[in-house]
């Protein structure tokens, strides 16, 4: 047993359980040539441990080694993330697990995220179809696959489903799913520990690489460089790459041009916010999955009120289930209305005419007052028409009320505005994108 293990076990007896479990348990240690290095997860914890326990640690170590003085260094960082089985342990190279369940977890895939549990609707059917093709024939049809769409619409679910399908068809395939932030963190850590070559090899030799939310690579040049080389290595060896983002590859700010262009080489598909029918279907599917009976009027009630994204739908469902389990009352419409009161009140409060005007004005970098002014230049009139359309879409105000709120305009102006925006959304991709971005912002 190393000196740290002995010391920790002594401290366990000396300190309160709460103190020990909060401050000592998360420390990691290395021992070499009489030098003990203690790694605290961050700067704050390091300072706390030094301030409160350094003296005691020194005393215990000295006592354990018969009065010999130990050099104890307090470092910041971690030796190994608990969830990171692909990293090396104690200098030994990581050996791939043979059991399929463990293999899947080494890929960082959630087994529940499959195509079976992914509810198809108009908003995601192309993305789903493309993903199934890739899951069936990785590296051959579309490479890379780039899935983009707003938060909580199912991009991550699709990526896991692809990975799971690849493994189902070929259990020995090497699949890696990770969030872009984890790629950055792992790379930084590898650089710190002189293991960058291992890191490079790890991701350049997989059969399917799935990187989520690539927009978070923005401004991180060193990581982008590594992504670039990883991309090239995989692409040239015909291994599958799947990427996701909140926007179209060309529109991801802060990403190098060479990456943007590569990300668009294969197939780029969008996931839109689900329509009411799909939201209802998603709720029903999730209810079946957790084994509860959700009446149809409740699914429609929740689906109609929670429009923003699937995470919010799940949040609402979890709240209903928890409330029902706690009170022992079965879920019905009245029950749902009560249980979700806070959540729904907040949503209703958020979408007001003022809120829409403020959001649209900020988006176009004009003043809210411009929207209600007499100005008729296109740079003002277009945002005004969009704001009117969104107001009609998202609030229950009558057309005269909307017209009046936009500088005392007639209700026919509102009708004209909504028609105009409908036409433009079909003919002008920028207006379509603006509309969707604003809708997303207002309903998140």
């Amino acid at each position: 047993m190393g000196i740290w293990n002995q010391c920790a076990s002594r401290l366990k007896g000396d300190l309160t359980t709460t103190e020990y479990n909060t401050w000592i348990l998360p420390l990691q240690a290395t021992e070499e040539n009489g030098q003990l290095k203690l790694y605290a997860p961050n700067h704050f914890v390091r300072n706390w441990v030094i301030q409160h326990y350094e003296q005691r640690i020194i005393e215990v170590c000295s006592h354990l080694s018969g009065g010999k003085t130990h050099t104890i260094l307090f470092e910041i960082g971690t030796l190994q993330r608990p969830s990171d089985p692909t990293e090396t342990k104690g200098g030994n190279t990581f050996v791939p697990q043979v059991k399929s369940r463990e293999h899947r977890s080494a890929s960082n895939l959630t087994p529940e995220f499959t195509f079976d549990t992914f509810v198809e609707g108009k908003s995601n059917q192309i993305a789903r179809a493309a993903s199934i093709q890739i899951g069936t024939n990785p590296g051959t049809v579309y490479n890379p696959l780039f899935v983009y769409g707003g938060v909580g619409l199912g991009k991550t679910h699709l990526m896991h489903a692809i990975g799971n399908m690849v493994l189902d068809n070929n259990p020995s395939a090497h699949v890696a799913y990770l969030h872009s932030e984890r790629f950055v963190t792992e790379m930084v850590k590898s650089l710190q520990h002189n293991r960058i070559e291992e890191f490079k090899k790890r991701y350049r030799t997989v059969n399917t690489l799935l990187i989520d939310d690539v927009q978070f690579f923005a401004g991180k040049e060193r990581s982008q460089e590594e992504v670039f080389h990883t991309f090239n290595a995989l692409f040239e060896s015909k291994q599958q790459i799947v990427l996701s983002s909140d926007r179209f590859p060309k529109e991801v700010n802060g990403l190098e041009e060479r990456l943007k262009s590569r990300f668009g080489w294969g197939l780029t598909v969008a996931i839109e916010p689900p329509d009411l029918e799909t939201r209802v279907a998603i709720l029903q599917s999730k209810a079946i999955h957790i084994g509860i009976d959700l009446p149809e009027d409740v699914t429609f009630f929740v689906g109609r009120h929670v429009r923003s994204n699937i995470r919010d739908l799940e949040g609402a469902l979890r709240r209903l289930v928890a409330n029902s389990q706690f009170t022992g009352i079965p879920i019905n419409l009245e029950f749902a209305r009560n249980a979700l009161r806070d959540m729904l009140a907040a949503q209703d409060r958020q979408v007001t005419i003022e809120n829409i005007q403020k959001t649209v004005a900020e988006y176009y970098k004009i003043r809210s007052a411009d929207l209600t002014s007499n100005k008729r230049s296109r740079s003002i009139a277009r945002p005004r028409q969009l704001a009117m359309t969104l107001t009609k879409e998202l609030t229950k105000h009558s057309l005269p009320e909307i017209g009046s709120a936009f500088g005392g305009r007639d209700h026919t102006t509102v009708i004209h505005a909504t028609k105009k925006i409908k036409e433009l959304r079909e003919s002008d991709i920028t207006i379509e994108e603006d509309y969707k971005n604003l809708l997303r912002t207002l309903t998140v």
């Binding site: 998360p26 707003g150 969030h179 806070d342």
Partner: protein, 231 residues
């Protein structure tokens, strides 16, 4: 050595037994289940100042750490903290972040919290977050963070009604071994804000003063303390 005057240490009185649930029994049950890892891994509590959020978060951490697991309580309202405090928090089994409205709107903090959320989820850890408002009303700039915080169930903590406040006052005094007579209780309830955090602070002061002056907590002593607090 730089002193860290942060209230990350759990207050001795903050445990589940000392929490008067009143109208918040469901939220308390959800937090208790969270601490026992038998409920949802991600919870969101919201309510006004003094509604008991901090107490519940600390009680959960206490419960966890009295077993053989680790938990950390981080009060984000404390101005001296930097976003790097979120680094590697996934090494703890459970993480409780208090008052996240304090960092809403700050891009670096929001990014840090978003990354932490993902890491906790990936490593199967648990997160309990508290704020003044529901997720949808937090002034967050990162939509990705907002949607994640709304993923788990959210619970509103309602203020304790007067009867429950009185019950809390009596029980807490009893736990401290402080003999608070019915007239003293009535006096406090008539003159003080019916707010648990105020009452607990007052009780602590009464306890301290009565020890210092070696006298019983009479109405006279209580009146002095309340008067001093007001001024």
């Amino acid at each position: 050595m730089h002193q860290i005057p942060l209230p990350v240490q759990l207050r001795p009185e903050a445990d589940f037994a000392a929490f008067v649930s009143g109208p918040n029994a469901e939220a308390v049950a959800a937090v208790t289940a969270w601490a026992a890892r038998s409920g949802d891994n991600f919870l969101y509590l919201f309510g006004t100042a003094g509604s008991g959020k901090t107490h519940l978060l600390q009680a959960a951490c206490r419960q966890v750490t009295q077993g053989d697991r680790s938990a950390i309580y981080v009060p984000l309202e404390h101005g001296e903290l930097a976003p790097s405090i979120l680094d590697n928090l996934e090494l703890w089994d459970l993480v409780a972040l208090d008052d996240i409205q304090a960092i809403a709107g700050d891009a670096t903090w929001e990014q840090g919290l978003f990354d932490l959320y993902n890491r906790l989820r990936e490593s199967g850890r648990c997160l309990l977050v508290s704020a003044y408002t529901p997720v949808s009303e937090l002034p967050l700039t990162l939509p990705d963070l907002r949607s994640r915080l709304g993923w788990g169930p959210g619970y509103r903590l309602l203020p304790l009604p007067e009867d429950d406040c009185e019950h809390l006052l009596k029980e807490s005094a009893k736990r401290r071994g402080l003999e608070l007579g019915p007239d003293a209780v009535a006096y406090i309830m008539r003159r003080c804000p019916r707010e648990p955090s105020y009452l607990m602070g007052l009780l602590e002061e009464i306890d301290r003063e009565s020890l210092r002056r070696k006298c019983r907590p009479t109405r006279w002593l209580i009146r002095q303390i309340i008067g001093a607090r007001k001024s």
